[in-house]
């Protein structure tokens, strides 16, 4: 035991070693939370859709069917892994990973809690506290489209190819509206570092959160919310899948764990999108009201606040999916370019004017 505590003291005294250990621990926590979140979300999605369609949903495995994700996981692993004879094999195998890795990596700049103090050091609860963190999130998330496009192309099936083509057009188009809707927040905050953006939003929520008094970014918030649905390929914009026209779109030919990886990527993208929305517009881990606590009680409450806010938007994702019908493809593109894009630009102009005159 003494050698262990000796090692720990050595790590504490060495800044570089401490940084490495801290980053590794935060990384493991984040990836673990995301993977756990995926399994919880599959259960939530199926149970909620059951409620909305007057049926039960999975309720057999464990209490309330809570162990259903474990059963699903085992099922995915046991299923036969089929690669179509005509497929371009290297890319067909690589595509699910190219979809999942950016989804996981993009989350690493999002602060899930405040800067805590432990062992005499200040530790920000974010995997990497990057100066251009927000830019990093968008840059990495924009690489996720390659997984879908490659899956569509390498399958050598016309449905998959159509799904891949649609996704590349749709995701590039909505990325513009998404990116520009954020500029308003950046103008108000004056920084690209997510931790600072959140720290600026301390205090009562109607005075400080960027969507309310902190910057009146209501328009930006709405554009980001809608574009987020398109970027994550969720209904009403799930053109790349569109099962009534394209069988299952880009992952038609995928089975077993490869299909599960696309599935996980979609859910992790939903979480990243919700987390970005919360961080930028809704105060991130800020509670939104003063509480008479300090220290660890406050920090735990703030982490919980972040989780509650994300959960709200995740449930909204499910809610919207089972409520709204799918858009027609040309209408999706028209909405992105002719409605959301000008609205986001108008938001930038108005915000810039207000900030300049302030």
């Amino acid at each position: 035991m003494e050698s262990l505590s000796g090692l720990w003291n050595r790590i504490l005294s060495d800044d570089a070693a401490f940084l490495a250990v801290k980053t590794l621990v935060l990384l493991l926590v984040t990836v673990g939370a995301l993977m756990g979140g995926v399994s919880v979300m599959t259960w939530v999605e199926r149970r909620l859709s059951g409620v909305m369609q007057f049926r039960l949903g999975p309720n057999r495995v464990g209490p309330f069917g809570l162990f259903q994700p474990i059963a699903d996981g085992i099922k995915f692993i046991m299923k036969e892994d089929i690669v179509p004879a005509d497929a371009h094999k290297p890319l067909f195998v690589l595509a699910p990973a190219m979809s999942l890795v950016p989804a996981l990596a993009a989350f690493s700049v999002i602060p899930f809690g405040p800067v805590v103090e432990a062992w005499g050091k200040k530790i920000g609860l974010v995997v990497i506290d990057l100066d251009g963190g927000l830019l990093y999130a968008f840059a990495i998330a924009s690489l996720g489209v390659y997984g879908i496009v490659m899956a569509g192309w390498s399958s050598r099936s016309k449905y998959s190819l159509m799904g891949g083509l649609r996704s590349s057009a749709q995701m590039v188009s909505y990325e513009l509206a998404l990116g520009i809707s954020v500029i308003g927040v950046l103008l108000v905050s004056g920084t690209l570092r997510p931790m600072e953006i959140v720290e600026r939003q301390a205090g009562w929520f109607w005075q400080s959160w960027n969507v309310f008094g902190g910057g009146w970014q209501i328009l930006g918030f709405l554009v980001f919310l809608i574009a987020g649905y398109a970027e994550t390929n969720r209904l009403p914009f799930d053109m790349p899948e569109a099962e009534s026209e394209l069988v299952a779109g880009y992952h038609t030919e995928y089975s077993s764990m490869k299909f599960a990886m696309f599935f996980m990527a979609e859910y992790i993208n939903m979480m990243t999108s919700s987390a970005l929305l919360v961080t930028l517009f809704l105060g991130g881990w800020q509670l939104g009201f003063p509480v008479p606590f300090t220290g660890w009680t406050l920090w735990v409450l703030q982490i919980l606040a972040f989780l509650v806010k994300i959960s709200f938007f995740l449930v909204l994702f499910v809610w919207v999916r089972w409520t709204l019908p799918r858009f027609r493809y040309d209408k999706v593109m028209a909405l992105g370019w002719k409605r959301l894009f000008p609205l986001a630009l108008a938001n930038v102009f108005v915000t810039a004017l207000v900030v300049a005159l302030r």
């Binding site: 890319l91 251009g132 830019l135 990495i140 924009s142 690489l143 489209v145 057009a169 995701m171 590039v172």
Partner: protein, 162 residues
């Protein structure tokens, strides 16, 4: 550490660049180009130019390459036999490449000791913003005007009937 990262990135960048021009399949070429662009972004990060590195991924790998890939997939090119390899063009290409290698190599060889180290805060979002919007404000605005003109021109050419 930085030297090791440099050599890994250099190998990745060169191999992917060779794949871009040698592979028969245009989709593989496009993917290799995307890979090449990401490894170039790695070089920017090594040179402390964080902002430009991230923009390189966001703009080139994330948007422009996806559009190129979109067009390649839409055209649905079959395996094309190696046909147009004109004699003059080939020799001209070799000559120009040799010239470029000579000029760049000489510049690096003679000047590499004179390169200053990056000043503190170099390449952060703030410093790039200061450089663009204060020190080089007018050239920046002229370039953006040029880009808008090019975009309007492209739309007009592609869409005769507006």
């Amino acid at each position: 550490m930085a030297t090791l990262a440099f050599f890994v990135l250099a190998v990745l960048a060169i191999v992917s660049a060779v794949v871009v021009i040698t592979h028969r399949n245009p989709v593989i070429s496009a993917m290799a180009l995307a890979f090449n662009l990401v490894s170039i972004a790695g070089f920017y990060l090594l040179l402390q130019a964080q902002f430009i590195g991230l923009l390189q991924i966001l703009v080139y790998a994330g948007a422009i390459m996806v559009l190129i890939l979109f067009v390649v997939m839409l055209l649905n090119l079959r395996h094309e036999p190696a046909s147009h390899r004109g004699g003059l063009q080939r020799w001209l290409a070799i000559l120009l490449t040799a010239g470029l290698v000579y000029v760049l190599g000489r510049a690096i060889w003679t000047e590499h000791a004179a390169f200053p180290a990056a000043p503190a805060g170099f390449g952060t979002v703030e410093n790039v913003g200061q450089a663009l919007f204060r020190e080089n404000f007018y050239p920046f605005e002229v370039i953006s005007l040029l880009l808008v003109a090019a975009m309007v021109g492209a739309v007009l050419l592609a869409k005769r009937r507006l």
